[in-house]
């Protein structure tokens, strides 16, 4: 066999196995982005997807309850009731008016159950200098394993 053919085979094996891994990884961790407006029109199958929604925390809506934190997220006039049930403590930046990103599942009753929550202050907040791993006030249960 010529050296070039051998290389071709070797490279092919590497690329195929890595693509397979990438596909598996993507399947395992994919999260759908939706706006609050889109959530209400999702069909039943989308209820099983992991969904990420962003918006602002409605002023005065944060309620600390045993085992969970309820609040209302609003975006472009639409509102979404949210229950945060994640195990990580809420970030310092989570307060009235904060920009907030949540990840979790939509429930049939229209409530959103969030397992992860990231927030940043709506005010003049500019995080760390570009190109740096800057503000991670987020509570995030993903960890390098």
């Amino acid at each position: 066999m010529k050296a070039k053919t051998k290389f071709g085979i070797g490279i092919g094996i590497i690329l195929i196995s890595l693509s397979a891994l990438a596909w598996m990884g993507a399947k395992q961790s994919q999260t759908y982005y939706h706006t609050i407006a889109e959530l209400s029109s999702l069909n039943a199958s989308a209820m099983h997807q992991r969904i990420r929604v962003g918006g602002d925390v409605a002023a005065g809506s944060i309620q600390h309850l045993p085992g969970r934190v309820d609040f209302v997220l609003k975006e472009e006039g639409k509102t979404l009731p949210v229950s945060y049930v994640g195990s990580d403590p809420l970030p310092d930046t989570f307060k009235d008016g904060a920009q907030c990103l949540i990840e979790g599942h939509a429930m049939p009753d229209g409530r959103f159950v969030a397992e992860q929550l990231q927030a940043k202050c709506a005010s003049k907040y500019e995080a760390a200098p570009g190109g740096t791993e800057s503000s991670q006030p987020a509570s995030n249960s993903d960890r390098k394993s």
């Binding site: 290389f7 590497i14 990438a22 395992q28 759908y32 990420r52 600390h64 907040y125 190109g131 987020a138």
Partner: protein, 686 residues
């Protein structure tokens, strides 16, 4: 001072236009005087940028709160040290800082090679002037840090306002590491401009041979070293400040800094094939183009709001400019490549699957795959929206799944590659070089498994780490033994002499060893554990071998913040070890708070304790403790990588004659060697 600064930058822009336009004219007309004046204009650009940067620093130090940018990022109580770091805390200042660091590189290059390489340097001058003009456009017209606070008076005229105090610096940045991390990372980002400029210049000018590679080798290494250290410092900062117990989470901003490092690493390796065998010319040129484009793309990613990241700079109007610049650079690269592609033909082809060439080839291939995976994972929301109409993001499992095997394969090549012969390696030499280390590595793996190691990747990592370390030690030992027996010295000074004779090769081995330690450190994450509990004073928590006792809790007013602090005594087997003070700081000036993590770090593991705030139900303090094995090895490995990089940057102590003329032809004897040295003996890596 603000007028001074903005005028300096405006003048820098004008000089940049001259350096660019005049440089092109100089290349066309070949008039020596024009070449010289274009170069001087290029140097003037740099000096003017320094002045502009200096005046911004001055405005910060003197609390000039008539400047919008100063108001936004500083206040009176901020320590002077952080007032300096505040310069790059926002979009405008960090872009100026970018120009500033780039101008240091550019000035050094223009100055160091003044009057040398007359066929190459005018092109280099034009390329760097082009890049500088791009950033100066921001500094002057799109994101000037010298905006004055003002309001329209009833008459319609502008009034300027002086605020009594500023808003203060983001507390997440009020951390000593944050003062050195951005400069170092930016030095990496900007540094890749130099090899890019030389590569493009050599291509445009059809500069003969591989000389541009020798000229830029050290520049590339400096940029690469800075980038790597910058990434690690960022990881360390995230670990020590953000308080989520980890150091890397594949966030877009982290990925942006990793991508050029990956292609830069590929480039550092594959240039050796070009130097030794005249292969991979097209590949190398495109690798360095890609690396440069990725540095620009990374900046774009962190500033444009394309990808949702809590970290990134506020969404701004500068995104399209970056995309435009990237497109322009791509077109320039492609056109100059296409017109000069005959100049890049290879001298040789691959001979064997088991050879140095093939190990470099695979190294490059998978570094590139890693880079593509990181890019596509980062841009997944954007790509999926194009393709399927819905935004889908991928998370940490995606990145880990693909990058862990890639990392281990790279680790394997790290051990194997440097010892394979060029062209073809015989079975006998394979056995001689790798037999022992491989057997001992597998024994280590078996021992690990007997001790309870079950994770496939961790076990593989252990085997490979032992294997690679032993091959490196063996290399040092063999070389040093020869020197020691010839020179009648001991083995240790043999090692020192060996390293200094071929700094590039042995410095490279040291870097490889540092990488091994980093891999070991990362593999420790497989055994991370954490525990969170409400702990009123007096309560206890057991994590791993440690018992934490919450002793007191206090709240005090200090400097520019209020602090809430828990005092926690740590003991192990009844023996008191250390007191830890996890803390939360509240900054009234901008209503922000910051977490101060308390870490007890040993070689075996880190005990990482966070005061997570009050429990909303009971108002008791919540303590979150993590036990992270081997994390210290990552920082240790990073330090060794720096050491190795510095070694590889040093000149060889006893260079051969041919080597001296080849590396620095002009400095050694320009009159004697008008053409590149016939014998291709370059420093290092044999």
């Amino acid at each position: 001072m603000d007028l001074f600064g903005s005028f300096a930058l405006l003048l820098a822009f004008l000089c940049g236009l001259y350096a660019f336009g005049g440089g092109i004219a100089a290349i066309v007309t070949r008039r020596p005087l024009l070449i010289k004046s274009a170069r001087h204009a290029g140097m003037a650009v740099c000096v003017l940028i320094w002045l502009g940067f200096g005046s911004l620093a001055y405005l910060f130090q003197t609390d000039n709160f008539s400047m919008a940018y100063v108001v936004e990022h500083s206040n009176r109580t901020l320590p002077a040290f952080f007032k300096f770091a505040a310069i790059w805390a926002g979009q405008e200042g960090s872009l100026l800082f970018w120009s500033f660091l780039l101008s240091i590189y550019v000035f050094s290059v223009l100055f160091a090679y003044r009057g040398k390489h007359p066929e190459l340097m005018p092109y280099v001058g034009v390329v760097v002037a082009g890049v500088q003009l791009f950033f100066l456009t921001f500094n002057n017209f799109l994101a000037s840090p010298f905006q004055i606070l003002g309001s329209a008076a009833p008459s319609g005229a502008m009034q300027w306002i002086m605020r009594p105090d500023g808003n203060g610096l983001n507390p997440l940045l009020q951390y000593p590491e944050m003062v050195i991390h951005p400069p170092i990372l930016y030095s990496g980002y900007t540094g890749f401009t130099i090899p890019f400029a030389f590569a493009l210049a050599a291509l445009l000018g059809r500069y003969p041979g591989e000389k541009w590679i020798h000229l830029t080798r050290r520049w590339t290494m400096i940029a690469w070293g800075f980038q790597g250290v910058g990434i690690l410092l960022g990881a360390h900062w995230a670990y020590a400040v953000l308080g989520w117990g980890g150091y890397w989470m594949w966030d877009p901003v982290e990925n942006a800094s990793l991508m050029p490092w990956l292609t830069g690493t590929a480039f550092l390796h594959s240039v050796m094939m070009q130097e030794k065998r005249g292969m991979m010319r097209v590949w190398n040129v495109w690798l360095v183009f890609t690396t440069f484009l990725l540095t620009i793309f990374g900046t774009f990613l962190t500033r444009s709001g394309v990808v949702n990241s809590v970290h990134a700079f506020a969404q701004s109007k500068i995104g399209p400019w970056f995309l435009g610049f990237i497109g322009l650079v791509l077109v320039v690269c492609f056109v100059s490549f296409w017109r000069n592609r005959d100049y890049l033909r290879s001298d040789n082809t691959l001979d064997s699957l088991v050879s140095r060439e093939s190990s470099f080839l695979f190294n490059n291939l998978i570094l590139l795959v890693a880079c593509v995976a990181v890019i596509s994972g980062t841009l997944f929301p954007v790509l999926s929206e194009w393709v399927r109409g819905t935004k889908i993001s991928v998370g940490v499992p995606f990145f880990n799944m693909i990058n862990l095997p890639i990392g281990l394969f790279l680790l394997f090549l790290t051990g194997v590659g440097p010892l394979l012969a060029w062209r073809k390696t015989s079975m006998a030499s394979l056995r001689k070089n790798f037999g022992g280390p491989l057997v001992i590595g597998i024994v280590a793996g078996v021992v690990g498994m007997a001790l309870g190691l079950r994770d496939f990747y961790v076990t593989t990592c252990l085997i490979l780490s032992v294997f690679v370390t032993l091959t490196i030690l063996l290399e040092f030992y063999r070389g040093a033994r020869v020197i020691a027996s010839r020179g009648n010295t001991n083995l240790l000074s043999g090692v020192a002499q060996l390293t200094m004779r071929n700094t590039r090769r042995y410095g490279g081995y040291v870097v490889h060893f540092g990488i091994v330690l980093i891999f070991l450190g990362i593999s420790g994450a497989a055994f991370n554990q954490d525990k969170q509990a409400e702990m009123p004073p007096g309560a206890q928590m057991q994590i791993g071998p440690y018992r934490l006792t919450h002793q007191t809790f206090d709240s005090t007013q200090l400097g520019n913040y209020t602090s809430e602090r828990a005092t926690i005594a740590v003991d192990r087997g009844g023996k008191q070890i250390i007191m830890l003070y996890p803390e939360k700081r509240f900054y009234p000036s901008n209503q922000e708070s910051g977490t101060m993590v308390a870490i007890y770090s040993t070689l075996k593991e880190d005990l990482y304790v966070v005061y997570a705030g009050h429990s909303p139900d009971t108002q008791q303090p919540v303590i979150h403790a993590y036990l992270n094995p081997l994390v210290k090895w990552i920082w240790l490995g990073g330090a060794i990588v720096v050491l190795g990089t510095l070694l590889a940057l040093m000149p060889n102590r006893q260079p051969m004659l041919a080597l001296r003329t080849a590396v620095e032809p002009s400095r050694a004897a320009p009159a004697l060697s008008p053409s590149p040295a016939p014998i291709q003996h370059y420093d290092g890596h044999d």
